[in-house]
C-alpha cells in the first residue's frame, strides 16, 4: 500500500503520542483540519510544513518523501542523546534482482530478547538474503549508540540488502 502524506502525518503524530487536538493546537489550526490531512482529503499548507517537521523531529524532506535520514546516514550518538532501546526499530530491506521487495521491521527490544535468551529468528533468518545476520553484533552496536545505516550490500544477482536502525 502506498504511504501517503496523510498516513505519514498520522503515523508521526501517533509515534509522538499526540492526539489530533494536541497537534492542531501546536500548529494553530483546527482538529478537523488535522483529521482531513490524515484522511488525505486535504494537504497541509506549505507554510505549515516547517512547523510540522519540527514538531515531529524530522526534516521537511523526510515529512514529504517519507525517506528518513536514518536510512542514509550512520551516526554514533553520545549517551545523553540516545533513544531508549524500547523505541528503536531495526529495519531490513531486501530488493531482489527480479524486482521482489521485502521489508521487515523488528523492534530492537525484540532483538534484545532474542539475543539475551538465545532465540533464533527464523522469520528473518529464513530469508536467503538475511540468514547470516548477526543480531548480537547489531545489538552491541546499537548499545554503543550507533544509529542509522548499518549495512548496505549488493550481491551478484542484483539483490540489495539494506539494514538500518532508527
Amino acid at each position: 500500500m502506498e504511504e501517503t502524506l496523510g498516513r505519514r502525518i498520522a503515523n508521526l503524530r501517533r509515534a509522538a503520542a499526540m492526539t489530533q487536538d494536541e497537534l492542531a493546537e501546536k500548529v494553530g489550526i483546527s482538529a478537523q483540519a488535522v483529521s482531513k490531512w490524515e484522511n488525505d482529503q486535504t494537504c497541509p499548507d506549505i507554510t505549515l510544513l516547517p512547523s510540522l517537521a519540527k514538531i515531529f523531529g524530522v526534516t521537511v524532506d523526510e515529512l514529504l518523501s517519507g525517506k528518513q535520514a536514518a536510512e542514509t546516514h550512520v551516526q554514533v550518538l553520545p549517551e545523553n542523546q540516545r533513544k531508549d532501546i524500547r523505541d528503536m526499530m531495526l529495519r531490513m530491506k531486501v530488493d531482489t534482482g527480479d524486482g521482489d521487495k521485502v521489508r521487515i521491521s523488528v523492534p530492537m527490544a525484540l532483538v534484545q530478547v532474542a539475543v539475551e535468551t538465545g532465540m533464533a529468528m527464523p522469520q528473518v533468518s529464513g530469508n536467503a538474503a538475511l540468514q547470516n545476520i548477526d543480531f548480537a553484533q547489531i545489538l552491541a552496536m546499537v548499545e554503543k549508540g550507533v544509529m542509522g545505516n548499518l549495512m548496505e550490500v549488493e550481491v551478484s544477482d542484483g539483490t540489495t540488502v539494506h539494514i538500518y536502525v532508527e
Binding site: 500500500m1 524486482g99 521487495k101 530478547v113 535468551t117 538465545g118 527464523p122
Partner: protein
Amino acid sequence: MRIYMEENGRQKINVHLPSGLVFNTVTATLAAAFVKGQDGERYTGEQLRKAVQAVNEYRKSHPEWVLMEVQSHTGQLVEIRL
C-alpha cells in the same frame, strides 16, 4: 493485527485479528509446546513470553507498526501490520 494481501491491485485477503488475542502469555505458552522453528528448533515458554512482552510494549507505543511487507515483481503484496 491486520493481514492484508492483494494481487495486481485487487484485494485478496484482509484479516483483522485482535492483537491481544494473538500476542499473550497463553498463546506464548501454547506456541512453546507446539511450534517448531524452520530448522526444528523449539522455543521455551520463557523465551516466547519475553518476546510477546516486547512485541506488546512496542505495539502499544507505536500503533500501525508494519512488521512485514513483501511485494513480488508479479504484483502480489502481503502486509502484516500490528
